[in-house]
């Protein structure tokens, strides 16, 4: 996997330890590493050049602080610079003084406009709005059908209209849009989301069409839907759409993958408009306001711990976790029953692999990301199966689990006595570790050991 920027910088600065200031010479290799890191994250070449220039200017002449290593210092400059570019003004929506507010979705083929239109409608509904959807994609086979199914699944209003076997073309597109707006007014919908056909920015005919659509609807928001996996070409398409339509923002889709998302920087740079939302999954609610700091972390390969924490807050049962913590830290310790509950909670967060990947690859979690590929997910199921095969009494009093009980448990869970033994050993260790947590520092080391134990057999 990728070596992240801070590891590279550490190498670049290995000869620089608290000596003087960052100079042209000692920065040269570091700047090269920064450039490569940004390019590997798909930030556009020209944007990278400009960025690196800024970073150089800011870094040069800075005293090497004793509190921060040169690496940390430069990383901080890079981070700040990227966060500044991406800006903080995300997810702010322009609503019309007289409803309906019209939102026009634009973008290349396959960027995720239809899915995003549905997610946006669901998001607006959650915020107390009454959105109406309409698809004016009369070109791609079954595109309008797709939006209909999406609308149905989130119980959103949709104007289906009738193509009356009219030839696909701008006239039909305009008629559907006009009718949809009228329908929105009549049915008291306060927002109208217009899903358009995917088009190439160099297709002058279709670009003319969407410009006409803009003139017809005068939308408050024109969102550019872009795939987070886009490479160097992102600037060209975004620029062309912006020139033609004066975009008001971007939605970055497919952020649940492992793309670095450098396109976000490129698009922001050429359009000057904020990235407002990001799509993070296939479900209608996998949609959230864009967080610049997180994406910067990803671009620099430093994990996305904020997303992990949020996911945890969203999915975990707080009361249960607190109870577990209280028990685990107190004299009684936690039972196998509690342990199973915790396992189930962790499973709700997603695969172990995806969790580990979100951890930053520096600091206390160093090395964890790399382990992601080696974790055997099935191991969790086996552990759960073993605990399931115990009687409630055994789960609450592990000390009664004798040899013959172990044999029975192994048979019941389709595992071996060795595996049962291993689990009991790990459980005993963990109990002890939690009780001694006050001594500090131990937890993380032990947790690492546990994970190593979870590696595939």
């Amino acid at each position: 996997m990728f070596e992240n920027l801070s590891e590279k910088l550490q190498r670049a600065f290995k000869n620089l330890r608290g000596q003087g200031s960052l100079t042209e010479e000692n920065m040269q290799e570091a700047l090269r590493e920064i450039r490569v890191a940004l390019l590997e994250a798909d930030v556009n070449l020209n944007v990278v050049k400009e960025l690196v220039e800024h970073i150089r200017a800011r870094a040069l002449g800075q005293e090497v602080m004793t509190s921060l290593s040169p690496t940390e210092q430069v990383i901080k400059i890079v981070r700040d610079e990227l966060v500044t570019i991406l800006g903080k003004d995300t997810a702010r929506f322009q609503f019309a003084s007289r409803p309906p507010t019209v939102i026009l979705m634009a973008g290349l083929q396959g960027s995720g406009k239809t899915t995003t239109a549905g997610k946006l409608a669901a998001w607006l509904q959650k915020g107390g709005h009454r959105p109406m959807l309409v698809s004016v994609d009369v070109y791609r086979p079954a595109a309008r059908e797709q939006l209909r199914v999406v609308a149905q699944s989130i119980k959103a209003n949709i104007y289906e209209g009738d193509t009356k076997s009219e030839t696909a073309g701008t006239a039909l597109v305009e008629r559907l849009a006009r009718e949809a707006r009228r329908e929105a007014v009549i049915t008291g919908c306060d927002t109208l989301i217009v899903d358009t056909a995917g088009r190439l920015h160099i297709d002058s005919e279709l670009m003319d069409e969407i410009a006409k659509l803009k003139a017809l609807l005068s939308p408050q928001e024109i969102l550019f839907v872009a795939d987070a996996m886009t490479g160097q070409d992102a600037v060209r398409s975004a620029e062309a759409f912006h020139q033609r339509l004066a975009l008001t923002g971007t939605v970055l889709t497919k952020m649940d993958g492992d793309a670095r998302g450098g396109a976000a920087l490129s698009i922001r740079h050429v359009t000057g408009q904020p990235v407002k939302f990001m799509g993070t999954g296939e479900k209608p609610d996998a949609f959230e306001p864009f967080h610049p700091d997180r994406v910067v972390g990803r671009i620099l390969g430093m994990g996305d711990i904020m997303s992990l924490i949020e996911r945890a807050e969203d999915k975990l049962d707080k009361r249960k976790s607190e109870e577990f913590a209280r028990k685990a830290l107190s004299g009684d310790g936690f039972s196998l029953e509690d342990f199973r509950d915790q396992l189930r909670q962790i499973k709700k967060l997603g695969s172990m692999e995806s969790i580990l990947k979100m951890l930053p690859s520096v600091g206390p979690f160093a090395g964890m990301q790399q382990m992601a590929g080696q974790v055997d997910e099935k191991q969790f199921n086996r552990v759960e199966a073993i605990i399931n095969s115990m009687t409630p009494k055994e789960r609450n009093h592990h000390e009664i689990i004798s040899g013959s009980r172990r044999k029975r448990i192994a048979a019941g869970s389709g595992t071996t006595v060795q595996e049962v033994n291993q689990l009991l050993r790990q459980y005993a260790q963990m109990r002890k570790m939690f009780k001694g947590i006050g001594k500090g520092g131990l937890l993380q080391r032990r947790a690492m050991g546990m994970l190593t134990g979870m590696k595939g057999r």
Binding site: E40, L45, Y139, Q146, S153, D233, D258, R260, G262
Partner: protein, 320 residues
């Protein structure tokens, strides 16, 4: 003699000229940029010096070839320059083309010889790269070559994916085996292969749901589909084509790695080459994974799919 741009175009094919023109037009956008850059580089560099090579490296990166691939190519050129084998820009261009072509061609797997019909082709890839569209076009491609084909609508997840493929089937006169949305993709694959076997259909094209390569569960589903196919036809799937959007950046490598791991990718279809994106990531993938590019998608029409030719691709990429 017309240089065929993208491979084995049939000389008697009345469409060949127009296809050629369209391909030229499509690739020229790609070409303009790299070509333009390259000309700048070459104009400056009467003698091939370090600045020129570095500029060249950046230019390759700007075409999504990635840092590692661009560095390797540049390093090779530097070696040649040191040994004074490059005297001017024209030679540098020729050498660069050969390098890119050699990467695209390394260890090219020969297409599988199918012992008995049907040949099973599985289309895989992340969301929105054009799997359904390519499936439809591929069916038409085989039909135009006198083969019988069958489409298998195994994308049972995305809303209206089945209906979308159905339209393509109607356009090319190819029948489609389907189930309802939300159905089991392996079950519909099973049905399609049974039908194809009975009917002695030449080719079955399996359209699968788009999935991000990071979703372990969904990737396991592809593995299961492969095993299902093998139960009916032992050496199936004969081809697993990774459909790759030409606009994809460096994440394309990770896609190729993980899809190969789960689905056993045998080749790539590079789509949306009619835009301005260069599809340079295909070179990076070929370098690391030795995966050949099989087809190029250049538009939304039924015939906008062409067999890929690395020599032509590399050449047209560098033509001014």
């Amino acid at each position: 003699m017309i240089q065929t741009l993208f491979g084995s175009l049939n000389e008697e094919d009345p469409q060949s000229l127009s296809i050629l023109d369209r391909m030229r037009k499509a690739v020229s956008r790609t070409r303009d940029n790299l070509g333009e850059h390259l000309d700048n580089v070459l104009a400056m560099a009467r003698a091939i010096d370090e600045t020129a090579l570095e500029e060249l490296e950046m230019t390759l990166i700007a075409s999504d070839l990635g840092v590692a691939t661009a560095t390797e190519i540049t390093a090779n050129l530097r070696e040649h320059a040191k040994r004074q084998q490059i005297r001017d820009g024209a030679e540098l261009r020729e050498l660069l083309k050969d390098q890119i072509r050699a990467i695209l061609d390394q260890n090219t797997r020969k297409p599988v010889v199918v012992s008995a019909p049907p040949e099973v082709i599985m289309m895989v890839g992340v969301n929105g790269t054009g799997k359904t569209t390519t499936s439809g076009k591929l069916a038409a491609w085989y039909r135009a070559r006198g083969k019988t084909a069958l489409l298998c609508a195994a994308d049972t997840f995305r809303a209206a994916a089945i209906e979308q493929l159905e339209v393509w089937g109607q356009r090319s006169g190819v029948e489609m085996i389907r189930t309802k949305q939300g159905g089991d993709p392996s079950a519909v694959l099973f049905d399609a292969l049974q039908a194809a076997k009975t009917r002695q259909t030449d080719v079955v094209i399996v359209d699968t749901a788009g999935r991000l390569h990071t979703k372990t569960g969904l990737m396991a589903e592809l593995d299961k589909m492969r095993r299902t196919a093998q139960r009916i036809i032992p050496d199936a799937p004969h081809e697993v084509l990774l459909v790759l959007d030409a606009t994809t950046g460096q994440n394309g490598l990770q896609q190729a790695r993980l899809f190969t791991e789960s689905a056993g990718v045998t080749g790539i279809v590079l789509t949306k080459l009619d835009g301005t994106a260069k599809g340079g990531i295909a070179v990076a993938i070929a370098r690391e994974m030795q995966l050949p590019v099989r087809f190029a998608g250049i538009g939304e029409g039924l015939n906008d799919l062409l067999p890929f030719d690395s020599e032509a691709f590399a050449r047209s990429l560098l033509e001014a």
